[in-house]
């Protein structure tokens, strides 16, 4: 059933119940329920690179496992490529490629990279005539073409993750879910994977659901971001819009020469200036001071420049400070 959206969840809920010791007595246990996914409504459009962010235990992996049919929902449902994750599991599985955060453990250590992929190609019904070609193609795509016949147990951590990525791409699914694909990888390998994912989306139009702990990683590549906390979305927008949501006042940075403390106080008293703080971390040159000026509006900027000109204070650097996505993440998860 073709659909406008790649992924759509409708009041999706998953509750886990566990038994924990309850005071005295070896056998005394009490049931504790956790709403791992709490009534989530999410829409990911086709061709979108959607970043799923959240602190540990927020429900990111649970959501991925539900979408790939591994975990059945307790209530609500989801459509993947237009197919219901409960009623049309086989169609959902055919529409998806999933990379789990510990995906490399599903490989067979005594087989080489090629044989591992050959096995998974059969489980994903990759046509036999195209199988060999496709395996070599995906190995090349992830940069493992020179390690095709190397035993899996001899692969490095980065190579194992790349092979897991190759397995995800093997059936050429329209939707890819990557659960923390760069966790535990060195900076260069992580960057290669990020670049690869971004190019794949741009060139093939595939939809990617990308979960990560790394906020800046999501900011770099994702077109839209959802922040999950305790099974609920606390924010859901473009990276820019999320940053804007926590923006209260305009923040500018000034590096100035020959300014005195009374002059700083004077700036602080100017109309529309909320606060002025010294920023030692910016490390200006000797004789210079770094000031962070909080303004009610950017319209107050000319007044500040006029003052500097009048007082013959030399302005050596100026920049407008943007809140980072990390600020947004912390602010939004704190609020919720």
């Amino acid at each position: 059933m073709p659909s406008e959206n790649a992924i759509e969840t409708i009041n999706l809920t998953k509750i886990f119940t566990s038994k924990i010791p309850n005071g005295g007595g070896f056998f005394r246990r009490k049931a504790v329920t956790v709403n791992a996914i709490d009534n989530i409504n999410l829409t990911i459009e086709k061709g979108e690179l959607f970043g799923l962010l959240g602190p540990n235990g927020a429900g990111k992996t649970t959501l991925v496992k539900m979408l790939c049919t591994l975990l059945p929902p307790d209530s609500g449902t989801a459509l993947v490529n237009g197919y219901d994750i409960v009623k049309q599991q086989m169609q959902v599985k055919r529409s998806l490629g999933t990379l789990f955060s510990v995906g490399e453990r599903g490989f067979f250590w005594r087989l080489n990279g090629y044989r591992n992929l050959e096995f998974y190609a059969s489980t994903y019904n990759v046509p036999r005539q195209k199988r060999h070609e496709r395996i070599l193609e995906v190995l090349k795509l992830v940069g493992l073409e020179n390690s095709t016949f190397q035993l899996y147990q001899q692969y490095s951590g980065g190579m194992k993750r790349k092979l897991a990525l190759a397995r995800t791409l093997l059936p050429d699914p329209p939707i890819i879910m990557l659960d923390e694909p760069t966790t535990g990888l060195d900076a260069i390998t992580a960057r290669n994977i990020r670049d690869f994912v971004q190019h794949t989306v741009q060139e093939t139009g595939k939809t990617v659901l990308y979960t990560t702990h790394y906020i800046e990683e999501a900011a770099q590549i994702c077109t839209k971001i959802g922040i999950l906390k305790e099974g609920k979305f606390v924010a859901y927008d473009t990276p820019e819009a999320l940053k804007a949501k926590i923006k209260k006042d305009e923040l500018i940075y000034l590096a100035v020469e020959d300014i005195t403390q009374p002059q700083i106080e004077k700036i602080r008293s100017l109309k529309g200036v909320v606060n002025v703080t010294e920023k030692a971390e910016e490390e200006p040159m000797p004789g210079q001071r770094g000031l962070s000026v909080e303004l009610q509006s950017v319209d107050q900027l000319p007044e500040i420049f006029d003052f500097l000109f009048e007082q013959k204070i030399k302005l050596v650097n100026f920049k407008r400070e943007e809140p980072s996505l990390e600020d947004a993440f912390i602010e939004l998860t704190k609020k919720a």
Binding site: P72, K93, L111, R115
Partner: protein
């Protein structure tokens, strides 16, 4: 999903296991030597007090009786543990998210184990025939029927045990009890008729006895008609245990998925 695609998957499951297995060269050597020395050692046990009982019942020597019992015991052991081997949580999750049926997964993961067991059985029998003068008179059709029923029954039992293991994450009591049943009551080392009546009853209600009894008759020149009562009981057990085992395994798998504990081991 066509039958051809599913058959092809089964072939790739087998190929995967064959390649993995062939890399454990030391293990292969150990297994071959275990089989050879096992056969040599037990062949000397032919002079025991159960000789007469064996000769009267099966019209063959105790050596032949023992050798056939031990050889086919490897099939039962293989069948009992094979489903357990498939529930490695990581591989299980990876296969379950692919468009592959549960039955394909179980059958595909089993084939290589049986191919290897067949090789072990052949080693036992060849040593018996060439070194100890064991005379085999094989009823091929009967042997294949008994093998099919026996293996299916034990896969069913294995599925019950593995299902429990998926939920409990600890031991598999079903397979453990069945291993004891095979050794003591399975007609492997001695006929259960040599046991006291109370213990003999246990033998008569467990599948290993019927499998071993039928297979021994089929390798010593008896006709299918002569083993029909035992064969019917084995077939009945198979008809009950296989669907029950599959249902329990599928239910346990579903429950673990629902609880999110599939990869907890």
């Amino acid at each position: 999903m066509t039958v051809q695609e599913e058959l092809e998957k089964i072939w790739y499951f087998t190929k995967r296991d064959m390649i993995s297995f062939s890399t454990y060269k030391t293990n292969i050597l150990i297994l071959v030597f275990t089989a050879i020395f096992g056969a040599l050692s037990f062949a000397y046990l032919g002079q025991t007090s159960v000789n007469q009982l064996v000769t009267q019942t099966y019209h063959t020597s105790y050596t032949s009786y023992l050798l056939v019992g031990l050889a086919f015991n490897t099939y039962l052991g293989q069948a009992l543990t094979l489903v357990q081997k498939t529930i490695n949580p990581w591989a299980l999750e990876e296969v379950l998210v692919s468009p592959t049926r549960l039955t394909t997964f179980i059958v595909g993961s089993s084939i290589w184990g049986f191919v290897w067991s067949t090789g072990v059985v052949a080693i036992y029998l060849l040593i018996g025939v060439y070194f100890f003068g064991v005379v085999l008179s094989v009823n091929l059709v009967g042997t294949l029927i008994v093998l099919a029923l026996g293996i299916a029954t034990f896969i069913g039992i294995s599925m019950i045990g593995s299902g429990i293991l998926i939920l409990t994450k600890q031991g598999d009591p079903v397979s453990a009890l069945m291993t004891i049943a095979i050794t003591l009551f399975g007609n492997v080392l001695f006929p259960p008729q040599a046991l006291p009546l109370g213990l003999r009853i246990i033998a008569y209600v467990t599948p290993p006895y019927y499998f071993m009894t039928c297979i021994k008759f089929m390798l010593t020149g008896s006709t299918i008609a002569s083993i029909l009562p035992n064969l019917e009981i084995l077939a009945l057990m198979c008809l009950i245990i296989v669907p029950v085992g599959y249902a329990i395994y599928a239910w346990c798998l579903k429950t673990a998925r629902k609880n999110g504990t599939l990869s907890w081991f």
